[in-house]
């Protein structure tokens, strides 16, 4: 396995491209989720998308990715609205609302998928690949679909960049300027649903949470500017995607999704420890240095006003 295979081998190229597109889109959109302290929203919505896949299949009998992904998107969106409603109108906390939507929607999805599987319907095989994702089965049309969906989501982000930035850092100010924070929030979450829909085929329901959170947390370590953070986050996501693909496809019995996530975890760990300004190692060093210096500092600055 070397970088050259990445360009010559047809399967490998598709999988790597797919993982890269996913990494870029989820990395960039995930920044907003992380900044708005909604890191687990992606986890809840990716689980919530599952019944949509089953219902789309039951209604149309088609297994075309675009049909199933549309169903997933609609279910994820319904999940968003449900969470929003529960948090706004009851005393149940956001974190509980996420857990409720996650587990109930997923339960419905599993019930429907098992129901479909036991109808003795030979055509259904493969629906459950969305649970864990099967990056290795990505073909050129999948990658194209992913790119178009991701491109649309990112295009939307560019158009509303100023508004989303304001929403992420100061929703109250955004409201006072006349933007509708609730509606903008739902729109932003809908874009995240698009990223999830792209990720379902590649890394699956469970690991999607990390694809949104990981790159953003890593990127945040290196910069204080949103634009740089978005860029870095996309790069980290793409790097994890390509690294995971290369690590998995060379050997037998190693699934791509988990390898992408483990690559990403490595990037996050390195960023947390060694990023120049916010790295924990440097902070620790500075702290012990400061402790050594402290007695002298205290003498150097006598208490005033006595």
């Amino acid at each position: 396995m070397n970088l050259f295979d990445l360009f010559s081998d047809y399967t490998l190229r598709n999988v790597a491209l797919g993982a890269m597109v996913l990494g870029i889109v989820s990395g960039i959109l995930g920044c907003f989720a992380v900044l708005r302290r909604q890191g687990l929203l992606g986890d809840a919505l990716s689980h919530a998308a599952l019944p949509g896949i089953a219902i789309a299949y039951l209604l149309t009998g088609s297994k075309a990715p675009i049909v199933l992904l549309l169903g997933a998107g609609i279910a994820g969106w319904v999940g968003t609205l449900t969470i929003n409603r529960i948090v706004r109108d009851t005393r149940i906390s956001e974190d509980s609302a996420l857990g409720i939507v996650l587990s109930v929607f997923f339960g419905v999805g599993i019930l429907l998928l098992t129901y479909i599987a036991k109808r003795n319907d030979a055509n259904q095989a493969g629906l459950d690949r969305f649970l864990f994702g099967q990056a290795a089965t990505l073909v050129a049309t999948d990658v194209l679909t992913m790119s178009i969906l991701g491109g649309l989501a990112l295009g939307c982000l560019v158009l509303l960049y100023k508004e989303f930035k304001l929403l992420a850092f100061d929703p109250a100010f955004a409201a006072s300027l006349g933007f509708a924070p609730n509606r903008l929030g739902i729109l932003l979450t809908s874009l995240i649903v698009v990223a999830i829909v792209i990720g379902l085929q590649t890394v699956g329901v469970v690991l999607m949470a990390a694809m949104l959170v990981g790159p953003a947390v890593a990127a945040r370590q290196w910069t204080h500017r949103l634009s740089v953070m978005l860029l870095l986050s996309g790069v980290f996501g793409a790097a994890a995607g390509i690294a995971g693909t290369m690590l998995s496809l060379g050997q037998q019995h190693v699934p791509t999704g988990p390898m992408i996530i483990l690559s990403l975890t490595t990037i996050v760990t390195i960023s947390l420890l060694f990023a120049p300004a916010r790295g924990l190692v440097w902070a620790k060093l500075r702290q012990s240095h400061a402790l050594d210096q402290e007695p002298r500092n205290r003498e150097a600055q006598p208490v005033k006003g006595e």
Partner: protein, 371 residues
């Protein structure tokens, strides 16, 4: 014991064990930590399998419980660095653990019965077949013993530490001042949540554990303000979901775990809509009532302002209200009905006038308004 009965009873025991703990998770805003633990125990199970050189209940149990506590510890550690928000910390740690588990399973145990979908949605359907034997005596299904034991542990834990849990949940600061360590209680609760998750998920899978921990407790939270009632209602809702869920799964010939989770969702939906105090319907009714009451007060003040003045005759007709206060016909009628029912306003043909109690009420309103 018939296998159907064993399945339903296991379901009820899982519901009771999970829902009672879930109340504290909901109140402490840690619902998603339960989700994280339920996924993160996979590598622990694999480690247990590796150490015991095969499927061993005890080794798997300890491995998984340890993995659960490591997850909680890592999340706390990340949070304390102040580089990462609490929810992002969870979102980084548990997928990493789950990915590690899936990697180990597919790399080294591709052909053993430890597949990841069993982890996600379990196989409660088979609990009737796995019996425990003591010598020659059949002790009954293994999962019944495990879940029964866990129920017992949880009930003992909650009873023994009820006061501490309650205090640490509602007022962590006070608990710390009084000498109870909130950290100790946090880890104690997390330890019980971890072993319950491990025990339950072999029977019902990770997702149902989460559903049964969070959803019945949230349902109960919508129905009552008292902690003991909440715990009781949560257990009840969970048990009903277990029974009805089994029926639903039987009808659709689908996954029992998925069906039970679905029913917990239906219960929550019903409570969300129809809870007497917290429900959306009650809330909408309350809002509508308040709107009418407020409008009635507005009417009283309006009448008081113009009482005795030359334009009073003109200002206090019903049609004038509609144009000046921009009330539509129906709304104005409802406001008038309320005011007349409480004998605050008298109606003389088209003319409205204040009664004595109406005058008092409107002066009261004005005073309230001045604060």
């Amino acid at each position: 014991m018939s296998s159907t009965f064993a399945i339903i009873l296991t379901g009820i025991l899982v519901a009771a064990a999970c829902a009672s703990l879930g109340c504290f998770l909901i109140l402490r805003r840690m619902a998603m930590l339960a989700d994280a633990i339920s996924h993160a125990i996979l590598p622990g199970l694999v480690a247990g399998y590796f150490i015991a050189q095969g499927p061993s209940l005890l080794a798997g149990f300890f491995g998984a419980a340890l993995a659960g506590l490591i997850t909680v510890g890592l999340v706390e550690l990340l949070k304390n660095t102040q580089r990462v928000g609490g929810e992002s910390a969870i979102g980084i740690v548990f997928p990493a653990m789950f990915a590690l588990g899936t990697f180990l399973v597919s790399k080294y145990y591709a052909d053993v019965h430890l597949d990841a979908d069993a982890v996600l949605y379990g196989n409660i359907e088979f609990v009737g077949f796995d019996h425990w034997y003591l010598g020659e005596t059949d002790l009954g299904p293994q999962s019944l013993w495990i879940m029964g034991g866990l129920c017992l542990i949880n009930f003992i834990f909650i009873t023994l530490f009820y006061k501490e849990l309650k205090l640490a949940t509602f007022d962590a600061g006070l608990a710390a001042t009084l000498g109870f360590s909130p950290i100790l209680i946090h880890y104690g609760l997390m330890a019980v949540v971890s072993i319950t998750t491990v025990g339950a998920f072999t029977a019902v899978g990770a997702i149902l554990v989460v559903a049964l921990m969070i959803v019945p407790a949230a349902t109960a939270y919508l129905l009552t303000d008292r902690l003991p009632w909440m715990i009781g209602l949560a257990i009840g809702a969970g048990a009903i979901a277990a029974v009805l869920g089994f029926g639903l799964a039987f009808m659709l010939n689908g996954s029992v775990a998925g069906a039970i989770a679905t029913i917990t969702g239906v219960e929550f939906g019903l409570a969300l809509l129809f809870s007497p105090k917290q429900g959306l319907v009650a809330r909408a009714q309350r809002l509508a009532r308040q709107r009418i009451q407020f409008a009635a007060d507005t009417l009283l003040v309006h009448l008081l302002q113009h009482e005795g003045s030359p334009e009073a005759a003109n200002e206090s007709t019903i049609s004038h209200l509609q144009s000046e206060l921009q009330w539509n016909n129906k709304f104005a009628q409802r406001v008038l009905d309320l005011a007349q029912r409480r004998s605050l306003v008298r109606c003389q043909g088209q003319q409205l006038e204040l009664t004595t109690s109406g005058r008092e009420r409107s002066q009261q309103v004005l005073q309230l308004g001045r604060g």
